[in-house]
Each structure stands twice: as structure tokens, then as C-alpha cells.
């Protein structure tokens, strides 16, 4: 209990410091924040005009697609706020930033996870939430106590899952020293697999996205469950439980990979 409190206090200090650091450049934050909605608009407009012309996409209507899109981007927003530092592992390795963390008497993974609170990411979160609530309205989502708790759990689990997948893949930077191009690849991959129903892909690809890299649990399976659509791969038992279990498993795995990578870390120089 005492240790939990200690971790919370340290995390709060980290967040305070990183927010203050970023507020040094208010114009930069403002500029970037204004640009973010534009990127989301592109995706939702693509879906809208596609359905407008083709009536449906693999049996999904526009409101249903928007719901899945919103769910996917809400988890993206949470990741952008709390764990965007995954994107920069390569830079940290090159600059030897992990030296300082290794010297402190706290888990390096904890320090790494708590060290950055991305102010700009709040815009991602805000736009993602706006799209999500708009889509909830479109599909006539019924807000009861139970369904609300379910949604909150799903969002928490899918955010954790998304961040964990990024941690696993970006930890390759401990070996390769570069993460920029890996981040671009992952972003593109996540976009294409969380925006559209997985059922548009061949069965083998769906299996990979369910069992090997379980991206399907970020938005597709939860959206299927909540909207009452049948997915092409049937899962036993309630899907929300699967989402939760998968995200915790992958999160634990990501800590393992991160720790393995850190063993490979050799500071700067030489």
C-alpha cells in the first residue's frame, strides 16, 4: 500500500513536470492542436462517402462504422496522452536517456510509463470522444448503468492493448536504435485494422489479427459485441471479457519485451 502511494506521488510529479515543460511553447501546442481534427475528418469522410455510394461496407452501415471508428480513435487518444513516449524509444536509446532512469531506485518501466503526459494528445482524446459520442447517438446506444460500465471497461482495455502493442514493437529500437519508421508502419497498420471491420480481410489475416497480434480486440470485436453484430470468427463467452483478458496479457508481455530490450541497452558513446 505504501509503495502504491509512493508510485502515485512520483507519477504525479512526473506529469506536473512534463506539462510545465510543454506549456513553455504555447503557440506550438495551439498550432498542433488545430491540425489534429483535420486528420480525423479524412477518415470519417472516407467512410461516409464510401457508404453513400456503395450503401454498406461488408454489411456495416455508416453509423456502425462510425461507432467502430470512434471506439478505435478513443483508444488512440488515450494512448497519445499517456504513452506517446513509446514512439521515442529510439531517440532515448541514442541519447542515453535511460541512464538516468537506471540510476533511480524505481522500476524503469514505471518511470518510462509515467514520465510523459502529452498535452497535445488531449486534442486527440477530445476529437476521438466527440466522434464516439456522435456515433453512439447515431446507433441509438442505450446508456444504462451496466452498458456504461461495460463501455468504460472496453475503452480502458483497448487503450491498454493499443499502448502495449506499441511498446512491444517500438522496443525493437533497443536493438535497431531507430523507431521512427517502425512507428509509421505501426500507425498505418493500426489505422487499417481498427477503422474497417476485420471481415473485409481474408480469413487467414483475421486469424492473425485475433490470435497473433490481437488488434481485433481494440475496436472490431468490442464493436461487434456492443452493436450485436456477428463477427466472422466466433468467440466463445462474452467478448468484453476477452478484450480485458487479452489486453492484460499483452500488457504483461510488453513489460517482458521492454525489460529484455533494456538488457540490450548500452548507453551512448562507443
Amino acid at each position: 500500500m505504501k509503495s502504491v502511494r509512493h508510485h502515485l506521488i512520483v507519477a504525479a510529479y512526473y506529469i506536473k513536470l512534463s506539462v510545465m515543460k510543454q506549456l513553455e511553447y504555447p503557440l506550438y501546442i495551439l498550432g498542433t492542436m488545430l491540425m489534429i481534427p483535420l486528420m480525423y475528418l479524412t477518415g470519417i469522410l472516407l467512410l461516409y462517402y464510401m457508404v453513400e455510394n456503395f450503401h454498406s461496407l461488408a454489411g456495416w452501415s455508416f453509423p456502425q462504422l462510425a461507432f467502430m471508428y470512434g471506439l478505435g480513435y478513443l483508444s488512440h487518444g488515450v494512448m497519445m496522452v499517456f504513452s506517446v513516449q513509446n514512439w521515442w524509444i529510439g531517440t532515448y536509446v541514442l541519447r542515453g536517456e535511460f541512464d538516468r532512469m537506471l540510476l533511480r531506485p524505481l522500476s524503469v518501466f514505471f518511470q518510462f510509463s509515467a514520465m510523459y503526459f502529452n498535452v497535445i494528445g488531449l486534442m486527440d482524446l477530445f476529437v476521438g470522444a466527440a466522434i464516439f459520442f456522435y456515433a453512439c447517438d447515431l446507433v441509438h446506444f442505450e446508456w444504462t448503468w451496466l452498458s456504461t460500465i461495460n463501455i468504460i471497461l472496453v475503452i480502458a482495455a483497448s487503450s491498454l492493448l493499443r499502448s502495449a502493442i506499441f511498446t512491444i514493437f517500438c522496443s525493437t529500437a533497443f536493438w535497431t536504435k531507430r523507431s521512427q519508421s517502425m512507428v509509421m508502419l505501426l500507425n498505418e497498420f493500426m489505422d487499417k485494422t481498427t477503422m474497417y471491420p476485420l471481415s473485409i480481410y481474408p480469413h487467414a489475416v483475421q486469424m492473425v489479427l485475433t490470435l497473433v497480434i490481437p488488434i481485433g480486440f481494440i475496436s472490431y470485436y468490442p464493436a461487434c459485441a456492443i452493436l450485436g453484430k456477428s463477427s466472422s470468427i466466433e468467440l466463445p463467452v462474452e467478448i468484453s471479457i476477452w478484450t480485458l483478458l487479452t489486453s492484460i496479457t499483452v500488457h504483461l508481455l510488453s513489460r517482458l519485451v521492454f525489460r529484455l530490450g533494456l538488457k540490450k541497452y548500452e548507453s551512448t558513446g562507443s
Binding site: G31, M35, L57, A58, L185, Y201
Partner: protein, 261 residues
């Protein structure tokens, strides 16, 4: 001329230096192509044609669009603002060559690198896995149109980058440009799916010439005489944007000198 060729060559070689980056960029290109193919296949199931374009044409459209996306690797929108905010731009001013042409040569080198490491492997992959249909009208017209597209997207990127001379605190404006191009150029979604009024407005903007014009030529959506007319409009845009670029550059140069004191 030799100096610019040398710049382009160095840029080409440095883009090949990091093998890991080469493979991940290729992976990114393949993901974009494959995902779009399945997306449009799903959309077309149960529909024969929309706006006179059938499924096989649409598949060719997205395949070639993914190849163009890989080919148009343009770095000026990232490197120039960085040089300006770090002050490294001063070193470039010492060089006895035209900087605009130097930056263009750099990106030509980068595009040549992309051709070798991404476009050709992607093309082979797509031919083996899905089959790529040959251009419906003339391949020469498609190549000409693509060359002009490159000039148009490069000048737009360079103009955006030069705005950093005035607004360097605003962060990277190039993301906005990327978003606008993605939406309005037909790179991602063909503009003929938009409502008529929006299409009319867009026809007065340069963006659709970056992707949609060469792609429409490729899939045979334009008749041969329409192709020539489209090429003419592209040419006009390219010339206009080049003039605008040099005008802004001459203003921007002075801005830096003033800042330097």
C-alpha cells in the same frame, strides 16, 4: 548542374544506408496497398460500377495510388522547417548554389531511392499476389502526368515549408498539408464519390492533379483527348506554383537576413 546531381546522388545513397528503415518503409507501403485492395473489394461486392468505374479499375486505381504514395517521398516539408528553427539554414546560405534547386535535387534523389527500395518491390509483390492491370490509355501520358504531379506536390510542400520562416513557432505545418492532400487529391478516396458541388470547387484547386489525374489516365477513366487537356491544366498549375515558390523564397531569404541582424 553537376553539383545538383551530386546532391541527388548523396541523398539516394543515404536513403539506402539504414537497412531496417528500408524494410519497414517497404512494409508500410505494402500495408497501404493491400488494405486498400481489400477495402474496395468489400465495397464493390454487390455493386457493378459507381460513376462509370468498375471493380477492376478501382483496384488498379488504389494499387497505383499506393505506388505513387511510396514514390512521392518528399522530405523538404520536414527538413527545411527543422533547419530554420535550429538555425542550420545559415550554413546552406553559404553554399554557392541555388538552394531551391538543391532541395529539389535532394528529394529527386530520395524519390529515386524510393523507386528502387519500395516502388519496384511493391510492384513485384502486387503482380505476384493480385495481378496489376496495364495502363488503359498510354503509358507515356501516365508518366508525363506523374512527373508533373511530382513537381506540383513538391512545390506545394516547399511553399508550406517556407512559411516556417514566418511561423516557426507553430510547429510542423506539413501535417496539415498531408491531411489536405490525403483528402482532396484522390490519394485515398476518388473525388468522383464526393457530391457534385464539392467536386466543382475542387476542380479549381491543384490538389486533384497530384493523384487523381495520373490515376484517371492510368485506369482509362479519361478519353485520350481529355488526357491531353488534363495534362495541359497540370502544366499550368506546375508553372504557376514554381513561380509562386520562387517569389516566396526571395521574400523568405530577406526575412532570415533580418533575423540574423
Amino acid at each position: 548542374m553537376r553539383a545538383y546531381l551530386y546532391v541527388a546522388k548523396m541523398r539516394l545513397l543515404s536513403s539506402l544506408a539504414y537497412r531496417f528503415d528500408v524494410f519497414t518503409s517497404l512494409g508500410t507501403g505494402v500495408i497501404i496497398a493491400v488494405a486498400s485492395i481489400f477495402l474496395w473489394k468489400a465495397a464493390y461486392s454487390g455493386t457493378d460500377s459507381v460513376s462509370g468505374v468498375d471493380e477492376s479499375q478501382m483496384i488498379a486505381y488504389v494499387m497505383v495510388s499506393a505506388l505513387l504514395t511510396a514514390f512521392f517521398s518528399i522530405s523538404v516539408a520536414q527538413t527545411l522547417p527543422e533547419k530554420i528553427s535550429q538555425g542550420d539554414i545559415v550554413i546552406d546560405f553559404y553554399r554557392p548554389i541555388n538552394l531551391v534547386i538543391k532541395y529539389f535535387a535532394e528529394d529527386l534523389g530520395l524519390a529515386a531511392g524510393a523507386l528502387i527500395t519500395r516502388v519496384i518491390p511493391m510492384l513485384i509483390f502486387l503482380m505476384v499476389c493480385f495481378g496489376v492491370s496495364a495502363p488503359k490509355t498510354s503509358f507515356l501520358l501516365f508518366m508525363l502526368s506523374t512527373a508533373l504531379s511530382f513537381v506540383i506536390i513538391w512545390t506545394i510542400s516547399a511553399i508550406i515549408a517556407m512559411l516556417s520562416f514566418w511561423f516557426f513557432q507553430l510547429g510542423s505545418l506539413s501535417d496539415v498539408k498531408d491531411g489536405i492532400v490525403l483528402l482532396l487529391s484522390g490519394q485515398y478516396i476518388p473525388l468522383w464519390l464526393f457530391p457534385k458541388e464539392i467536386q466543382n470547387v475542387l476542380s479549381f484547386l491543384p490538389f486533384q492533379h497530384i493523384y487523381q489525374t495520373p490515376l484517371s489516365i492510368y485506369i482509362g477513366r479519361l478519353k485520350p483527348e481529355e488526357c491531353l487537356f488534363a495534362l495541359l491544366i497540370e502544366l499550368v498549375w506546375a508553372v504557376f506554383l514554381i513561380l509562386a515558390l520562387f517569389l516566396i523564397w526571395s521574400k523568405a531569404r530577406r526575412k532570415v537576413l533580418i533575423q540574423g541582424g
